[in-house]
């Protein structure tokens, strides 16, 4: 071949190579942009913004990556101890108040029995019972409002995760999984709302009414109704949480199977149909999936840290109130003030129901975040 032809072929090859480079650079840049938008910081910031301000203040300070890295077991333990200290002081306060009213009520009952015989306490003992009932039910009302607020925060937080899950899953090729996860999370949020409004509220009202009327008139014993309502509620939330967990597990297993097939398909198409750079695109999908799994691990940790700061306070408050009421009930039985004892026990059982509700909401949320974090394995 003559020198002229060699030079001509070299020039044409160079032009073609340059043209291919111009085509490849935007797609690489696009992938880098995609990788940048998938960086942990942007999503963590979005999720942190969704936390209530009082919960966000309790997270470890620092850059989002560091903050997430510090949300480990020792952080959770130190946060638990802080909340426990506050809960213990409020528990001591409630117990002190109930004990003092019980002592005065027992004194009043003794005076009135001395006058009226063994018929029972008179108006002063009735006033003591009224004071205890008022304080116990005010405490219960405050705790119920706290549980309702907690349910709303959890729902809002899960809805934020919904958007993150959808966008991350779609970018990573998890089309089926994205649809399943967003649907499942929406279902969970609806379930939470329905649980509070349709189940918990009526039962709180019914139990409040039956306890109050039984306390006001010892001959009227309606405690059986509230006991039946409570046990039905506990059964229902146990059943609903089991059903939700089983359904989500099955859906996620199927979605993961679909996504691994979809991801493999994309890699094969990329490597075989795009000339020269097809192999590089196929390789970058591996990088993409590693990035997604890092994001999901990071978001999962933020999700758990957010749940911990939101859940610990209501749980410790509920437990401290329950303990205070139990101790006051024992004190009432020692002092022989039976009407107050049964009232305090009934209110304590209602708080037990609220504890079960908070535990179930936290469990559903942890399950949702766990599914989210584990779904990265399908793209590996």
């Amino acid at each position: 071949m003559s020198k002229k032809y060699k030079k001509f072929l070299t020039a044409v090859t160079a032009v073609f190579l340059l043209l291919f480079l111009f085509i490849c650079i935007p797609s690489f840049a696009g992938e880098e942009e995609a990788l940048e938008t998938l960086s942990p910081d942007s999503y963590i910031e979005e999720i942190l913004d969704a936390l209530p301000p009082e919960a966000a203040e309790l997270l470890p300070k620092g850059e989002e990556g560091e903050a997430v890295g510090q949300a480990d077991l020792s952080y959770v333990v130190s946060l638990s101890l802080t909340f426990l200290k506050k809960a213990l002081s409020s528990m001591a306060g409630y117990f002190a108040f109930f004990l003092s009213v019980l002592l005065l009520g027992a004194l009043a009952e003794k005076f009135e029995r001395a006058v009226g015989g063994e018929k029972g306490g008179g108006p002063a003992a009735w006033v003591a019972l009224l004071v205890i009932a008022l304080e116990a039910f005010t405490l219960l009302y405050g705790l119920f409002e706290m549980v309702r607020e907690y349910a709303e925060k959890i729902s809002a937080y899960m809805l934020t995760l919904n958007g993150v899950i959808a966008s991350v899953s779609v970018l990573g090729g998890g089309f089926g999984e994205s649809a399943v996860m967003t649907t499942s999370l929406s279902l969970l949020v609806t379930l939470i709302g329905g649980l509070i409004s349709a189940l918990l509220l009526p039962i709180v009202r019914l139990s409040f009414a039956s306890t109050l009327s039984s306390s006001a008139s010892p001959d009227t014993n309606l405690r059986g109704i509230s006991s039946f309502a409570r046990s039905t509620f506990l059964f229902l939330i146990g059943f609903l949480s089991t059903a939700a967990v089983v359904t989500l597990s099955f859906q996620t297993m199927l979605a993961q199977a679909e996504d691994s097939v979809a991801a493999r398909g994309i890699r094969f198409a990329a490597s075989s149909s795009i000339p020269i750079v097809g192999g590089a695109v196929s390789d970058s999908i591996r990088t993409l999936s590693a990035g997604i799994s890092l994001v999901k691990r990071s978001v999962g940790a933020v999700g758990i840290a957010g749940l911990v700061v939101m859940t610990l306070y209501p749980l410790t408050s509920l437990f401290s109130a329950r303990i205070a009421l139990s101790l006051s009930g024992y004190a009432a039985s020692i002092l022989g003030v039976e009407a107050s004892r049964s009232l305090l026990e009934e209110v304590g059982k209602l708080i037990h129901m609220l504890i079960a509700t908070v535990a179930m909401l936290a469990m559903l949320y942890i399950f949702a975040v766990g599914l989210f974090a584990s779904s990265a394995a399908a793209l590996a």
Binding site: Y94, F97, S100, V101, G105, G122, A124, V127, L134, R205
Partner: protein, 127 residues
């Protein structure tokens, strides 16, 4: 004076009362009333540390209900003492009226509690 001394003095005064009743019956009732009031005062003095303890224990955590309770217990004590004195004098009708007065007084005292309870019931129904 300690508790045993008070009990011993009470027994001595009761024996004196029996003696006075047999000699001059009309002086027995005033003596009985004085003795009852004195013993009620001693009981209140003995209960003062308890009441102060209860007050200090619950004061930071209560919104005025404790003072209401203390008034109710005080009214109950005064009513029961008055009713007993009336019965000892053979005036059962007056004793029952004194008890009725005490009950009405305590119920009137508990009106803020009843109002607060009614408001709480309304709040729960509005949930």
């Amino acid at each position: 004076m300690d508790f045993v001394t008070y009990c011993a003095l009470t027994i001595v005064f009761v024996l004196l009362l029996l003696l006075v009743r047999s000699v001059k019956g009309e002086f027995a009732l005033p003596l009985s009333v004085c003795l009852s009031v004195m013993l009620a005062g001693v009981a209140l003095a003995a209960a003062t540390p308890l009441i102060e303890y209860i007050n200090n224990l619950a004061k930071p955590y209560t919104g005025g209900y404790l003072s209401l309770m203390l008034k109710a217990v005080g009214i109950s004590l005064v009513t029961s003492t008055s009713a007993d004195i009336c019965r000892d004098s053979g005036e059962n009708a007056i004793a029952s009226k004194v008890e009725l007065l005490g009950k009405c007084e305590i119920l009137a005292l508990s009106l803020p509690l009843i109002t607060a309870m009614a408001e709480l019931i309304a709040k729960v129904l509005e949930l």
